[in-house]
Assembly symmetry: C2
Homo-oligomer: 149 residues x 2
């Protein structure tokens, strides 16, 4: 199936209250995708999609992103087995961000470090200096065993 | 208090596992901030921060963003009363995104449309055409009464 996206309306009311899905890609052709666990709303990762990745995600029901570092489509979990089955896709008021609600297969881990979520560190300020403390050291897999050169 | 942020390390291990908080701002000096309700993890909005907004957020405990449309610091809720008290700030593995966990004052609404969350529409595909359906029509306030010209 080919899914195409129309250009965003210039009418703010149409964008915010209409039924047309017109994702607003940025100057690099990307839109921010916030990925949460469909069951408990935990934030798993923040990634980016281009139109092709979004089309593949909607068409296959498996989350695809655009890897900015590798410059290509990225079927999340293809190497690790931690594929993301899409439960719902939502957009925000001005349609420049997406929420992808997923269930994660494999090790139930999303971060390449082996943790469930990429957000495993919290900021603490001590004497004006911001520091990170880990809030999750549990590794669901050993990265060196999963990502082989 | 002046909080300063060092430049990101080129050492991937230091970035991912270290205790230095070195947020990676993009070419426009911005970092993506995902904002959730600290109590139930609901995604409320996606916004952006520059270094000053992040510093103000960490220093005051009230969420500040950078408004790309207005080109200035934006103390969220200053007009509507829906200020966000920050409960936690987290960063992801490569430190190019933030998770801001908040409690919302006022109407307990984050979206300027009056809804609790900016993510109030879900994408549905019918015959290859993506459409939006509303999943939340409850308005916590009347925008025209709150945002006066």
């Amino acid at each position: 199936m080919t899914i195409e996206f129309d250009a965003p309306s210039r009418d703010k009311l149409a964008l915010e209250e209409g039924t047309s899905f017109t994702p607003k890609f940025d100057a690099n052709g990307l839109i921010t995708a916030v990925v949460t666990d469909a069951d408990d709303n935990a934030l798993l990762m923040v990634a980016h999609m281009n139109a092709e990745a979004l089309m593949l995600t909607l068409d296959t029901g498996i989350a695809h992103y655009f890897s900015r570092s590798r410059g290509k489509i990225w079927k999340k979990g293809e190497t690790s087995g931690n594929l993301q089955t899409v439960v719902d896709v939502l957009t925000d008021c001005d349609q420049d961000a997406l929420l992808i609600k997923v269930r994660v297969a494999g090790h139930d881990a999303t971060c390449h470090t082996g943790r469930r979520s990429c957000f495993y560190r919290s900021v603490r300020i001590t004497d004006g200096v911001p520091r990170l403390i880990s809030i999750d050291e549990h590794r669901h897999f050993v990265p060196s065993e999963v990502y082989k050169a």
